[in-house]
């Protein structure tokens, strides 16, 4: 062990003299590493995929609409139909401080025509806050409805990507004029394609979005079909729902405890479920992987035990010559760590390779496995820990040898 070179030679000899054991151990470590990193990578990919598709509807928003009352209130009977106007939306915005964003939504099936193509389209009138809340991101070169559009009742339209393709073909839709319900509208943006696995009133890719003020003027519709809002953070959604109901009960005059007058669909609940599910899934995968690694670690520990046994005489001589326990311990720990590191490196390389050749056409179902540097680091740390523990006990035994006895072997 006079130089690192001879240290490596020694390590090579040790491992070569234990070919089968070395092979099995390396296999165990490599397998464990591949298992841990791939399981984590697949879990991560699936999680991201689920977030992406769920968030297609909106990022932890609440979708609400009015229904009939179910309780008598201040002399008013039950079964009254509740309706909300844009003023009520403004009222909520002003009265409920927890609202981080709110938009009414007026929808109707209208005829859209471009040149000789004519389609019946679900058209929604909304406020600018609608775009980001519903994850309606404009493709490059376009924009969403803005405040000026609403204020000036402009005839502008934001078009779903599939509808745009259907109507305009290969033409760049932005800047074109399309007839909606008999009036010309300027296309200001096209939806950037997105994954969406749940919806109400049709998929976003086939819709048209126009300013709420324009919509009301165009159709004469007074009442919102539904409205969407969100709290600053998803965990506040519940409190916000309560506040919205209370605020509306005094405004629309229904019993504050009437949970039928306003219906809410809190999409953050889907995320809560999904997060919990994914956490459980990841923990499960992680435990399986770690167990595999531990088995590999036992193999390493085993091989080091044999190495120590075979080199007892050498260790005895070194101790006799004045090697401190730490020197002996360090030598064997280093050998273990190198063995583990090589196995882990190979395992991580295999995992990266598998992730990179993973067929993209399976993305729709399970997402793409994603072995982020963080996950690789996590795997490496677990591996390092396993190696440390695996190496420690044989190394400690080596350092504690009685030199006189050891040298006699």
């Amino acid at each position: 062990m006079t130089s690192f070179g001879s240290f490596l030679r020694q390590l090579g000899r040790d491992l070569w003299s234990q070919k089968l054991r070395t092979f099995l151990t390396a296999f165990g470590i490599i397998w464990g590493t591949v298992a841990v990193s791939l399981l984590l990578a697949f879990g991560n990919g699936l999680h991201r995929h689920m977030i992406k598709t769920t968030a297609g509807l909106g990022d932890r928003i609440v979708i609400a609409w009015t229904m009939r009352t179910s309780m008598i209130f201040e002399g008013l009977g039950k079964g009254r139909r509740m309706r909300m106007t844009e003023e009520d939306i403004e009222y909520l915005k002003a009265q409920v401080p927890l609202i981080a964003g709110i938009s009414g939504e007026y929808s109707e099936n209208l005829i859209a025509r471009f040149g000789d193509r004519q389609r019946s389209v679900e058209v929604s009138g909304v406020s600018p806050a609608y775009g980001p809340m519903r994850n309606m991101v404009p493709a490059v070169g376009g924009r969403f409805i803005d405040q000026l559009d609403v204020g000036q009742r402009r005839r502008v339209v934001f078009v779903g990507n599939e509808l745009a393709e259907d109507l305009f073909g290969t033409l760049d839709a932005v800047g074109e004029t399309v007839m909606i319900h008999g009036s010309p509208f300027l296309v200001v943006g096209v939806l950037q394609p997105k994954e969406q696995d749940s919806s109400y009133s049709g998929r976003d890719h086939s819709k048209m979005i126009i300013p709420e003020s324009t919509f009301r003027a165009l159709t004469g519709q007074k009442y919102v079909n539904n409205f969407i809002y969100k709290a600053p953070t998803p965990d506040l959604n519940k409190a916000l729902n309560e506040q919205v109901r209370v605020a509306l009960s005094s405004r629309l005059r229904f019993h504050p405890d009437d949970d039928q007058a306003i219906q809410v669909w809190d999409t953050s609940e889907m995320f809560v479920f999904m997060d919990a599910f994914m956490l459980g899934f990841t923990v499960f995968l992680g435990i399986m992987g770690v167990l595999t690694l531990v088995v590999g670690g036992i193999g390493v520990s085993n091989i080091m035990n044999v190495v120590v046994e075979e080199r007892t005489r050498e260790i005895g001589i070194k101790i006799a010559l004045g090697a401190r326990g730490r020197a002996i311990l360090g030598q064997f720990m280093l050998e273990t760590m190198i063995l583990t590191a090589v196995g882990g490196g190979v395992g991580l390389a295999i995992s990266f390779a598998i992730c990179s050749i993973f067929p993209t056409n399976l993305e729709e179902y399970v997402g793409l496995p994603n072995l982020s540097p963080g996950l690789a680091l996590l795997t490496a740390s677990v591996l390092g820990l396993v190696g440390l523990v695996a190496g420690y006990f044989p190394a400690r035994d080596a350092a504690r040898l009685d030199p006189v006895v050891a040298m006699k072997l």
Binding site: M1, T2, S3, S6, R9, Q10, R13, E314, I317, K318, I319, A320, L321, G322, A323, R324, G325, R326, A327, D402, P403, V404, M407
Partner: protein, 244 residues
Amino acid sequence: MNWPLKKKTNGDGTSNGHIIEMLGITKVYNTGKIKVEALKGIELVVDKGEFVAVVGPSGSGKSTLLNLIGCLDTPTGGSYMIGGEAVAGLDRDALADVRNRRVGFVFQNFNLLPQLTALENVELPMLFGGVGRRERRRRAVEHLERVRLGDRVEHRPTELSGGQMQRVAIARALAMEPDIVLADEPTGNLDTGSGSDVMSLLSELWGQGRTLVVVTHDQTLAKRAGRIVEIRDGLVVTDRRAVA
């Protein structure tokens, strides 16, 4: 922390010139049921620069005694001072340091590491003693030249004769410039020719002022020593100094 222990008496720093001072040393080997009392109360004082031959029948406790002197093992009872420093109460690391700095060992079966070259074998104690790489190499070459193996530095033990191996072991024992050189039947595994080579080398060391304790059956070597200590059944039975 352990500063008082490190108050190493540099070389001849013992107040009375005793490099080895053993009083009532006993050693009991406890192998399961049987207790072997290998040493039963050794009194041995060795001055700096002495050449002591330890003789006695097989099984009388010579090796045990040498191991205790070299701090390879610790006594069951009695007091042992090496270079004025009490060995009792030193921990494993401190004992390792004593072996490394103060003692050079030469064994009957050489105890070289087979996978290392002669040079690397001689470097080993200096590696544990924290000597830098270059210095280690320089000194190892120098010591190998002194034992007339300057042309064998890159050889491995298997490529050397018994006598050459023992000379590598002597070079290794001297690597850290110890006060005491201990040799346990150094010629026991050698033919007569190589044996006398090794004996001459050891005598040379004595000539250079080192303290030498050699266990031997070899009458010729014993006669070269200034002092012969005879052990029987774990006790010193005779202790003769040659008349100067």
